[in-house]
């Protein structure tokens, strides 16, 4: 089920280069599931001690970290700066963000593989200018509650004071966010084309298809 309610509290993460190791540390990549990563999002910043997937101890939260403070802990729109999602290709980073309840990430720029993984999982990513990002982050940090609304039909973000910010977004990305699509199903519609490409390559580059 898709959650198309893009309205909610902003969670400001005021830094550049938020990498996927920071979003979800390696010890949780041992899971063989796609769910259950929410409690470990930003793990090293969120708790005063580390844990493992199978540990049951209750950990102390680091109150200075934004996700442990109200109203941010119930936020669903994460806002950060440039090169968000750099580093490892782990899709677990996207799963952790979604498992936590975040459905939109707004940043100055995103790393390529992270963008791709967000696309396949239907996590909405929006790029804004440095200026707009600073406005949102500063306001969110200084207000008791800072809720914004993303209107996908008009490519706009409505700020609490009524101002709006227009953003660019790829139409196929929008389509993806609004409709649950099965990528593999879509590709397999071209099964015949893949087969004929493969047959052509078997004569052009036979060495790629085994040495028999």
């Amino acid at each position: 089920m898709k959650n198309n309610n893009f309205k909610g509290q902003v969670i400001p993460i005021n830094r550049d280069n938020v990498d996927t190791d920071l979003i979800i540390p390696k010890q949780y990549l041992k899971s063989i599931k796609k769910s259950g990563f929410g409690p470990f999002l930003f793990d090293s910043l969120r708790y005063t001690s580390t844990a493992t997937l199978d540990s049951t101890k209750i950990r102390e939260e680091d109150k200075s970290f934004i996700l442990n403070r109200n109203p941010f802990r119930n936020g669903n729109i994460l806002v950060s700066k440039s090169n968000f999602g750099c580093g490892s290709s782990r899709e677990h980073a996207v799963w952790a963000i979604q498992n936590f309840g975040i459905n939109t990430v707004i940043a100055e720029s995103f790393a390529d593989i992270f963008s791709r993984n967000s696309y396949t999982n239907g996590l909405l990513l929006i790029c804004l200018s440095n200026e707009n990002i600073s406005t949102i982050i500063n306001n969110a940090l200084s207000s008791d509650s800072y809720k914004i609304e993303i209107k996908l039909e008009s490519n706009s973000i409505i700020l609490p004071n009524g101002d709006d910010i227009i953003f660019d977004i790829d139409e196929s990305y929008k389509d993806r966010i609004l409709n649950s699509l099965d990528d593999i199903e879509l590709t397999l519609r071209y099964k015949n084309e893949i087969n004929s490409y493969e047959n052509k390559m078997k004569s052009m580059k036979p060495w790629l298809f085994g040495n028999e």
């Binding site: 990498d19 290709s89 899709e91 396949t120 580059k205 060495w207 085994g210």
Partner: protein, 467 residues
Amino acid sequence: MKNTLYDKIWEDHCIRKNDDNSSLIYIDRHLIHEVTSPQAFDGLDIKKRKIWNKNSILATTDHNVPTINRDKGITDPVSKVQIETLRDNCNKHSIELYDLGNIKQGIVHVIGPELGLTQPGMTLVCGDSHTSTHGALASLAFGIGTSDVEHVLATQCLNLTKEKNFNIIVKNKLKPFITSKDLILYIIGKIGTSGGTGFTIEYTGDGISCLSIESRMTICNMTIEAGAKSGLMSFDEKTHNYLKDREFLPNVKYYDQALKYWETLVSDKDAIFDRTEIFNAEDIEPQVSWGTSPEMVTSVDGAIPSSDKVSNKEEYENTLQYMGLQSGTDIKSISLDKIFIGSCTNSRIEDLREAAEVVKGEKVANNIKQAIVVPGSGLVKAQAESEGLDKIFTKAGFEWRDPGCSMCLGMNDDFLQPYERCASTSNRNFQGRQGDKGRTHLVSPSMAALAGIKGHFYNVREFMNEK
């Protein structure tokens, strides 16, 4: 003809252009490992989908595996489940797996080229960002997430949007004892960790063509740290010599035909690049990273830059606090706790030879708590042992381990304790990468080896000239 190498490989693999900006691209080779594949196989099972071409796939265990006492098995129950899941999945789908105990087991980006599974002109993917490594053999290689792993398993294709072309030209030769690791760290320091975002980077120039294939792999490997998913280098005589006699190469029947194709894998003379940068290899001294992003790097003779050199003061302060360092501190005065020589960046035979040359006849300094050498694969390990490199390391006080990712990301038992400082030949100095609160300095193999001997950083060029 004005095509880049990237344009050529892309066109060769384009099955159809989609209505949006993307194209359906055929994937020739798929490498898998235990960490990013379980959910993909699960997805196939749920939809009862079959694997398109199991012969295009090779699996290995690397991220999670112990590098010591392998006869005792895997003690961490969670890791064990993950590795057994890979075994089950490979069994069920008849996929070749190089598992613990097989001499061909190793880090996925080391074994691909070493076995000849990576070939020029191929499209190659793996659920791991350092797949860029394989571009050193003129193949278009990039990391993918788990959903895309599933997509390739089921369709042998991906719907991709073409990146832009970026040419990095390296002029002149590196000075003696300066390595391709120093070169790529230097480049990342200049263009930044998002400098390559949205591009495929092709490295050209005499500074690249004079390098060995293994050195070139180190550069392509860290291309992802410059923000680009793929790094590329053209096919040349060195590529050909490297590939000769590797296990999975085309057999004699097709070899000449393959070679003829490979020789076309260079950018046209007047190829058009969207961006070009030129670097002079002669400018480069041994590099040491000082912060928590690979772009935070300087020469070993330098010092931690002062805050007026950075744009984001808050982040700079946080970085120095995390690293336990002060502005203006000389790099050479930084002392270390641990030394890690390994990872898909620097665990091939030439890397180990380079480190051993420094270590020979020396002893690990007293302040070093642990120094480990982790070969990239079983074959690298065997080769090193046949050359006596293991003896050089162990005699000096280094531990000689079994192949795997090890302390590069510390998913197994090899990791840093909080606040420990490590000279590492790996690729990422992110917060917590090598262990919670651990402090990583990225360096070349000879620089890491030397830091182990001195107990602090030191210029390897000076040391070797004195030696």
